[in-house]
Structure formats: C-alpha cells, structure tokens
C-alpha cells in the first residue's frame, strides 16, 4: 500500500510536534488505549439510532443526521474485533473531520486529552489487527501507553470503504 498522500500528512504532523508537544485525544477500544490527533475531532456525542445502509460492511453501522448533514457511523470495535459492541447511553461517538468529510467513530470510551512530545512517541512494532500503516507510533505517558492512530490515513483507506474512489 503506497499512499503518498497519507504519508505526507503524517510527516507534517510530526514536524509540527517537534516544535511543541502535540495534543491527542485518548480513547479506549476493548482494553487498549488509543490516541488520535485532537485537531481532527469535531465533537464527541452519545450514540443515537442510526439508519442502516444497505449492503454496507458490518462495521459501518449506518448514517445519522448531524444537524442536517448525513454522517456515516463506523464502529471501530467491530472493525478491529476489539471488545463487545454494546450500545447504551454510555456509548461514545467521536465525530471526526477528515479533510472536509465528516465521519462518526464509535469507541468504548473517551478519557482525556494528553500532550505528547516527540520523544514520548516511539515507533510502533507491527501489530496484527491494526495495520501498522495506520499507526503514528506508541505514545508513553507515565504508566500509560497509547496507540497513536493516523486517523486521516485510516479513514481514507480502502479498508474502510468510506470514500468512493479508493473503494471502487
């Protein structure tokens, strides 16, 4: 997979992080803690009833109405086979803005926003479920370890099938 676009974005992020620490939104999927660039997050909402989309992959739960905009909702727990997908009043949806496209991402919980300096981000080893192409690295903060996701690249990847031209 050679997605030069995604690579450029990632390297751009890193160079920004060298100047000052970068802020990540920490969230959990199953037992693991993940982080993604806070600037990609538009808002965080509770889970509401979705409208199923015919013939969509299982992890695409459907679409919702976000103040007049139709937004697809993907469940990362199904996508990465992490944890049991339960939907209750505590289920959290992170609304992401990936270069103008709005996507909702269901996660188990959202904990906090943390700042990581570049030396706190270690290169990621190859991991099974999550293709390492989508990883920025592993962030360490005290006793915590965060899997930092390159959310731009993940959401626009053909795996997700969210964007037509790559999916087709």
């Amino acid at each position: 997979m050679s997605q030069s676009m995604g690579y450029n974005t990632a390297s751009g992020d890193k160079s920004g992080a060298e100047v000052a620490g970068q802020e990540y939104l920490a969230f959990t999927l199953g037992k693991e803690e993940y982080g993604l660039d806070i600037l990609k997050v538009q808002e965080i909402r509770g889970y509401e009833t979705v409208t199923r989309v015919a013939n969509a992959p299982e992890f695409v739960k459907g679409v919702v109405n976000l103040r007049g905009i139709i937004v697809p909702i993907v469940d990362m727990r199904i996508k990465f086979k992490l944890g049991e997908p339960t939907y209750d009043q505590f289920t959290v949806v992170i609304i992401l803005n990936i270069s103008g496209r709005i996507v909702g991402m269901v996660v188990d919980s959202v904990s906090d926003v943390i700042t990581l300096t570049p030396d706190q981000v270690k290169p990621a080893p190859d991991m099974g479920a999550l293709n390492s192409n989508y990883l920025i690295g592993l962030g360490t903060l005290d006793e915590r370890m965060l899997i930092l996701i390159d959310i731009d690249r993940l959401m626009s990847s053909s795996d997700m099938g969210l964007i037509e031209k790559i999916a087709a």
């Binding site: 013939n55 969509a56 679409v63 139709i70």
Partner: protein, 700 residues
Amino acid sequence: MTIDMSQFFQVFFDETEELLAEMEKLLLAVDVSAPDNEDLNAIFRAAHSIKGGASTFGLNDLTDVTHVLENLLDRIRKGEMALTGEHVDAFLVAKDILKMQLDGHRLHTPVDQEAVADARMMLQSLSQDAVSIAPPPPPEVIHYSQEDAEAKFANVKRCFRIELPQVGERDAKALAAELGLLGRLSIAVLADKRQVFTLATDETADDIIAICSFILDPDDLKVTEEALSASAATKPSAQTEEDLGYGFFEPIEDLRAFIAQDAPSAPEATKQTASPVEAAPEVTAAEKKNLGRRESDRAPASSQESSSIRVGIEKVDQLINLVGELVITQAMIEQRTDSLDPMQHERLLNSVSQLTRNTRDLQEAVMSIRMMPMDYVFSRFPRMVRDLASKLGKKVEFVTHGAATELDKGLIERIVDPLTHLVRNSIDHGIETPSVRTAAGKGETGRLSLSAGHQGGNIVIEVSDDGGGLNRERILAKAKQNGLPINDNMTDADVWQLIFAPGFSTAETVTDVSGRGVGMDVVKRNITAMGGVVDIRSGKGFGTTISISLPLTLAILDGMSIKVGEEVYILPLGYVIESLQPDPIDVKEISGQGRVVKVRGEYLPLIPLYQMFDIVPTFTNPSEGIVVILESDGRKAALFVDDLVGQQQVVVKNLESNYRKVAGISGATILGDGGVSLIIDVAALLRSSRQLSDESIFSS
C-alpha cells in the same frame, strides 16, 4: 468628478453580453427578403446601447466597431438600402468581434486586431456600397421639415434644447461646464426658475443625456432637438407649441424608429396614425408627456430590462438550503401536532396547516429561482447550426420544441457541452449533403430538432435529425477494429451504445467539425455524472434521435415513504404508478428467474426490497405486504415492501459528501423525527433487477 468606475464595469460587461446575445438571436431570426422593421430597430438599439456604454467607459475599440455597425444598421432600418444575406453575415461577424473585444477587456483574453480591422473594413465597404446602389428614397425627405433635413443630411451642427428639472446651482454649473465641452452653450431661465440650456453640437441627443445622467436623473431631463435657426426658448407657452411640432421629428432613436417603420406608407398616413399616440399624453404637462412617450416607446422592446436583478448564485443556494431546513422543521412540527386532540387544539392545528401551505409555497417560489428555461441553451444553437451547415455545404432547418421547459441552473450549464457535441455530430455525420438527400428521395433540406420536455420525474432532451441514421455494419466493423467485445447477434440498441466507447468514430474523413472520435464518450460520461441516461434510436435512412434523460434532481422531491422491516425508505413519487396488495394467485414463480406478479393482465417482475437490501422483513409473502408498481425507462416492475407509510416532500441530502455511493440508493433525507431515511434509486433498482432476470439491454 471622481467616481470609482470599476464597480460599474461588471454591470456593463454583463449587459453588453446580453445585448450581443439578443442581437445575434434577432439577426438569425431576421428574414432577409422581408425584414421586420421592429427587429431591425431592436438590433440597432442593441448596437447603440453597446456603443453608448463603451464610450462611457472609454473602451474605444468597442465604440469604433459599434459605430460602423450602427451606421450601416441605421441606413438599413431607414430603408436607404436593402438588407442582404451579406449584411447579416457581416453583422454576425461584427457581433463575434465585439464579443472578442469584450472578453479582451473582461477576461484579458487576446484580441485579434486583424480580425477587428477586417470586420470594420467590411462593414464600412458595405455601407459605402449602398450609397451608390440605393439613394435615399424620396418619401424619406418629405417627413422632415426643411431644417431637420438639413440637420440630418447636410452634416450641419445640431442644436439641442435641454430642459433641466429644478436643480441646485452647483449641479447646474457643473452640467453647464460639461456640456460646454461639446459645443456652444447658452443658458436661459424659465419662469419657474428651471434652467434651459441650448447647445449647438455635433453630438447626438443620447450623448447629451449620457453626460447629464452623471448629475441628473435622465428621466427628469427633457432634451429636444431644435432646428439650427430656432433660438433659445422664449416663453413656456411657446415652448409647448414648439414641442408639439418638433417632438414629432426629434431624432431620439426610438422615435426615428417609429417613423422609419411607417416610412413605406404615405407620409400623410404616418402623421395620422402617429398623432393620436402623441396627442394623448400631451394633454398633461410637458414633462409628463415626455416621460410617457419614453415609456411607451421602451415598453415593447425591452420590457424585461428593469424586471430582473442580479444576485450571486451562492445567495440563492443559501436561501434554498435555509428553506430546506425550514421544510424539515415544518414537517417535524406537523408530525408532533398530529397526536394532539383535534377538538382541544383546533386553533393550533389550523395554524400548523396554514404553516404547511405557506412553507410549500415558499419552497416552490425559492426553487423556481434556480430554474432556467431550456431556451438559455437552445438559443445558442441556431447560430452554430447555420455556420456549420454552410461550412459543410448542407442545408439544415433547425427547430426547437419545449424551449420553455425549466431545468435547474446547475444542470443547464452542464448540459450545454454535451448538447453542442450532439448537434455538431448530427450536422456532420447525420444530415447528408443535398445531393445525397435528393438521391435518397428526401427533401434537400435536412431537419434538425432539439426538444425538451418533462417525463415523469425526468426531463428528456432530444437531438433528432432526419439524416442517414447510424450504420450498424460500419459500427460493428469499427468496434472489431478497436477490439471491443462484439458479436453479430447484438441488438441494435447494444450496437448503438458502442459509439460511446472512447476513441470511436466511424466518420470516413476527419473534419475540423467532428470525427476525431473524442466526444461521444465524454458526452456519455458528462450525462452519467449528472445522473442521466443517454439513449439512441436510429433507423437507417430515417435519421437518428439521441435522447438524454436527466433527473430533475433538485434539492427537494416528492416522495413516498415505505417500510421494510424496521427501515423506512423513500421512493421518488415520479416513478410510482400505483400500489396494491396482490392476490396470492397473481404471484407466480418462474424457475430460476424469481417471481412475477400479474397486474391488470401484465406480468411484472417482482423485486423484493428485503432481498435487494438484505433486511429482515415483516412479510415474505407479497400477498401479505404491498407491491408498488414502478416505471422507469419505459420498463415496469413491482417492488415488494412491507407497508406504505405516507407521502411527503423530502429534502435530498447527498450521501456521497461524507460517505460513498451506495448501489440502489440515490441519496438520503431527514425525516420529521430527525432520523435519516434513504432514497431509493428506482432507475438503478429496475436496471439491476433486469440484469437479474437476464433481459438486460444495458451493458454497464
């Protein structure tokens, strides 16, 4: 005077463009053997307005060309020379030159100065030829008083009487200074303290009005031409007398046009027919009379001039979006009030139903802003057809139908290129040369028709010619040569679709008009991108019809909501014919091909929506649920759903802006409860079902 002119430039450019388009339209419509004076006048007025505007803005190149054009037009409309085809050609060339110059100023595109010079030469030589060929006919002279004739033909300075409304002294002085530059000016003061200028100059009345309009409202101004010998105004009473006399002959263009129109008839008759028109307004005050005449003169020619405003498209789109949201909110309120007791909340419910009506009206009104008549597209073809036909030595009669059919502005703009291509193709490949046509027993003149009309929820635009038709053998041979998958048993419809393959052209010779094989694939791609379908009908020797079916996909559509399992979907009402609960015996199984349902003696394929969309339905037996009979592209099918929910207008939201295209779904909408419902792409659904039942004619 320091006025920032730049803000006016855009208005001038837009107006000039419209005037040029109008001029071209009139030129093409004009009957050379018996030109309508009203048309000639309108052409002249357009040229004149451009000239006036151009000189105001100091665009001298435009002024120069329009000036010679105007001179020639003036002679023709005055009957000093007869209109010939040569003239019309020259005028069309001049129009193109003006357009080029205009673009040069506006978009800074290069201007071909040689072409400009050529066009000027041609116009000038045409107008000089005429002097020797056709001397001014005598009746013309009788019209004018001795002095007027002098002023007109002997090139003597003219004398204008300019009556000002009551203005401040400063304005009057400024005006006097400006006018003083044009010629000899004398000032007199009327009894009611208004000033009257008398100006001897070479300029025309319009130039004077143009200058005055910087300071005054031109409608308040009264400019009359006087004979040179006549002195400045004396008394108000005498002035009315003068106006009566000279008003009739004053060379304000519209009035001149009026005289010219009646010129061929006897001069006496002219006076008689004209005088009642003049007399009526004269009863009132002098100013009013002048004003009235202006209005009546203008009315027939350019009534739309003042009745439109220019608004940025983004403002309109914003308005449409807001109304869309309003419609949703209104639907929400309506839904919430439905559960209320009608007795207890009678007044609230009445108000809500009124809101519903008002919202619907508002929505229709707003949507219509974006709609434009197809005429906007059609009107650019007569010229092209004419040029192409003469270039290729063919005779083509061009007709349009349904020019008033309205289509969304966005679609209108995108349909222009494909249509242009199709029209070119029809003339180049479709319609034969006169000799071939005669040999085939057809009239020499080919017929090319462009039509537009509504069909269900679609607009169908057809380009039709009565030429040679598509050649099946040649297309197949060419397809073989290009390595396209073919076989000899293909249906005609399949064969015709081959011409949409990239790089496909069967033209024997490549002309600069068409035949390079680029295009039809682009046409198809453009139209598919608009959600449309291209269909070809062709009969050898009888011509070809290419029909483009475009969805009227505006932001809002009438939909029927249906339910399958827990899901609610919207069917565009345009496709729905009827819905019914079939009798169990009317549902038949065809082995391996699915089921059919018998409706009024017709067997229709049954499409179970739950199977298409993989939903757990409430019913699996069609006789328990409902079948909705749908029609698209002339094919019918029965869609099996659980239940009908209702009928409502829905706002179409794009699913692809944040997600990808979903097969069988054309968009989404927001229901009254804030939930999302998907809109079914009926055409695609029927197509895919046809493929399932193996009678597909589409090779997608």
